[in-house]
């Protein structure tokens, strides 16, 4: 609620089939959850973009578009900071350093731009990937929300 001390914790978990049609569902849902922090349009669009990138990675690379796979997102708000995790139990990433290189893609035949990790790194304050081949990938990202209210005060 408004007028809190800024230390309240709030969270949500979202689980869905690794289908491309769920990418927009995921980013809209996360944006709706975060809107309680009163983010600016830019902040909201950054968060939607990183969720879209992470979920798309899980669908295409984690599960090779096999929709039996499950993607799990958690969003946690502590004070004015949002922590997002996007996890899959898919193939995992063979070479993480290579995957993080701008413009590198393991699937050029699908016309991927290779910018997913670069975008996540740029749009968030903190960004971490852990991945193990054969057991999945987890992405953890953090961003402080300036909030429109703070701008006016």
């Amino acid at each position: 609620m408004s007028g809190d001390k800024g230390n309240d914790r709030n969270f949500m978990t979202l689980q869905f089939a690794a289908k491309s049609e769920n990418e927009s569902f995921a980013r809209v849902t996360v944006a709706a959850f975060i809107s309680q922090l009163d983010p600016t349009m830019d902040e909201l669009s950054d968060l939607k973009t990183v969720i879209s990138e992470a979920v798309t990675n899980s669908v295409i690379h984690g599960y090779d578009c096999n929709s039996e796979g499950i993607v799990t997102i958690t969003a946690e708000i502590i004070g004015d900071t949002v922590t997002l995790t996007v996890e899959d139990r898919g193939h995992g990433i063979e070479d993480l350093e290579l995957a993080k290189q701008p413009l590198y893609t393991s699937k050029p035949e699908l016309e991927r731009s290779g910018m997913g990790f670069t975008i996540m790194e740029n749009f968030m304050d903190e960004f971490e990937v852990s991945s193990e081949q054969g057991s999945g990938t987890s992405i953890r990202m953090k961003k402080r929300i300036e909030s429109k209210k703070a701008l006016y005060n």
Partner: protein
């Protein structure tokens, strides 16, 4: 599908207006429709008009870069116009403006292309 494609041909230039959300899910349809139009018609140049584009991610970048390569291999040019600030940031970050001209509107883009063609 929450993405619309509208196309209009001006002589040898194809104007492509995208509105809605360009992500991995909608990318395949956009790619198919554009390639079909490029192969079928007498298309030399492309103008990508993005006024109504509310969302785009790296899948969208892939579609744009793919069409750029296609039209360039045929000796043509591709330009973008009417780019909103959110999409601009993404295009800028990916270095797209190093290879593609950007114009305020379709009119300017058309006259820009006529000068080069």
């Amino acid at each position: 599908m929450n993405l619309q494609v509208e196309m209009e041909q001006h002589r040898k230039t194809l104007i492509i207006r995208l509105s809605g959300e360009l992500d991995h899910h909608t990318a395949d349809m956009v790619r198919m429709r554009l390639d079909e139009a490029i192969q079928r018609g007498q298309v030399e140049h492309l103008i990508l008009s993005l006024k109504g584009l509310q969302f785009m991610d790296s899948s969208g970048l892939g579609v744009i870069l793919g069409r750029y390569k296609l039209i360039k291999s045929k000796g043509g040019k591709m330009v973008v116009c009417e780019v909103n600030p959110t999409v601009y940031r993404l295009l800028d970050m990916s270095g797209l403006f190093k290879i593609m001209q950007i114009y305020d509107n379709e009119g300017h883009a058309l006259s820009g292309l006529e000068v080069v063609s």
